[in-house]
């Protein structure tokens, strides 16, 4: 309903400007969306950008989890990394992109590098916060019961970490896509979404810019759904067969009473 309202506003604004270079309407965008999707290089461009951003994201997550665990255990290491993280967060994406062009000599790893440096500080800080949020009383219990490191992870640390990762991944994924494509736009590695956007800009092909933008949003959302699914699977893997989650057990027969 609300989407229809905004589509109507968009169409009216496009009709009012009556210039598809300044503002392309929804119908023309849809036509361009279909045309862009049929281009011979389309699939390869999508796959290259997707692979680049995904590689940067997953590498950043992996390293941030490992280093976050070390920083949780070692205040010295945490302090050692603090200036580097402040620096990483302060540097603009454009600077990273230009540095990556110089260092990586125009390779296709540009979006991987940029999404890595954008995602790493966010996931690292949330990993440390998640570990810090682990319940001290449960950790005391675990130490008295001499639980293995695996059991501590499964029952205490991962459940404490998951809410932090869930929130942070949503922001980090959006950032990874925005900065990854921006880096491609600056560096123009061949056969990527960023370079396709650049070509559209050169030829003042605004409908193509709109079409590629829609593709970026769709890909970003699909990737986010995949990552959230992976987190969901991780959470499910913590439990034994037969476990009934809160929402499932709410509809069940059991109602705890006071004793």
């Amino acid at each position: 309903m609300f989407v229809c309202f905004w589509l109507l506003i968009w169409q009216l604004a496009a009709a009012w400007t009556d210039n598809s270079i300044i503002l392309t309407g929804p119908l023309e965008t849809l036509r361009s969306f279909a045309a862009v999707s049929r281009e011979p290089q389309f699939l390869l461009s999508v796959l290259r950008t997707l692979a680049g951003i995904a590689a940067g994201f997953f590498l950043a997550v992996l390293l941030a989890l490992v280093l976050g665990l070390i920083a949780y255990r070692s205040p010295f290491f945490r302090q050692l990394l603090a200036p580097l993280l402040t620096l990483l967060k302060a540097i603009p994406v454009a600077s990273f992109a230009i540095l990556a062009i110089i260092w990586l000599r125009g390779s296709n790893r540009l979006s991987s590098f940029v999404s890595f440096v954008v995602v790493f500080p966010m996931v690292f800080q949330n990993t440390v916060s998640g570990f810090d949020a682990a319940d001290g009383k449960l950790l005391e219990m675990a130490s008295l019961f001499q639980l293995s490191a695996f059991k501590k992870l499964r029952f205490i640390y991962i459940p404490a970490l998951l809410p932090y990762l869930r929130t942070c991944f949503k922001t980090a994924l959006g950032m990874a896509w925005r900065s990854g494509v921006a880096a491609e736009l600056i560096g123009q590695p061949r056969g990527t979404i960023g370079s396709a956007l650049y070509q559209a800009k050169i030829f003042l092909d605004t409908p193509a810019v709109f079409a590629w933008t829609i593709w970026i949003i769709l890909l970003s959302r699909a990737f986010e759904a995949l990552v959230m699914l992976l987190l969901e699977l991780l959470e499910r893997s913590l439990h034994e067969p037969g476990f009934q989650r809160k929402e499932e057990s709410d509809g069940g027969h059991h109602h705890p009473g006071a004793e």
Partner: protein
């Protein structure tokens, strides 16, 4: 089994002295019920025995390396996990064995739902099972183990504990005298600073 020997133990929190030169012996394989008014240091003594609290003076020694099974004042069950999972986490039991134990002590509760959906009494019984069935424990520490349980559940939990604590040194804390016969435990009175007990 382990003897616990306490000599000249003192502890204070700021201006408040909890113990001054407290000496006690707990023989291995026996059951004791620490009683006393609130503020007499029952829980503090248990925490010091477990090494969770430092003393200001004196010593606590053991005849052999202690391994504790513990029911804390709060249940300290892992939220988001079921009674079955919490029990198997601490007790390292097979699935069927754990389900049998839960069916005996918590027949009214669903072992597959998150523990926060169980009643307080049901959670207490899961905590009791986890402590008593933890492998290789020679000392059981039970801080108000029957709190939140109705009379029938108290009797059942007491009988079950006696059966499964056989051979272990048991230190329980309660403010109810009737808990001593439930556990067949020797009462030990702790007094507060003014000597009230």
């Amino acid at each position: 089994m382990a003897d616990i020997i306490i000599r000249g133990l003192s502890k204070s929190f700021g201006e408040k002295h909890v113990f001054r030169a407290l000496s006690l012996d707990f023989a291995s394989g026996k059951r004791y019920l620490l009683m006393g008014p609130s503020g007499s240091g029952k829980t503090t003594l248990l925490r010091m025995i477990m090494g969770l609290e430092k003393s200001d003076g004196g010593s606590i020694s053991f005849s052999e390396t202690p391994a504790f099974g513990v029911v804390f004042q709060e249940d300290r069950l892992c939220p988001g996990f079921s009674a079955l999972e919490n029990l198997r986490m601490g007790a390292s039991l097979g699935r069927e064995e754990a389900l049998d134990a839960l069916a005996r002590l918590m027949p009214d509760g669903d072992p597959h739902i998150p523990v926060e959906k169980l009643s307080g009494g049901q959670r207490r019984r899961v905590a009791i099972l986890r402590a008593a069935l933890a492998p290789g424990r020679n000392i059981l520490i039970l801080d108000e183990p029957f709190s939140g349980l109705d009379d029938e559940s108290r009797r059942r939990a007491g009988a079950w504990l006696k059966e499964h604590a056989a051979g272990k040194t048991v230190l329980a804390v309660s403010h109810l005298e009737e808990d001593a016969p439930l556990l067949e435990a020797e009462p030990v009175m702790l007094f507060d600073e003014k000597g009230e007990g």
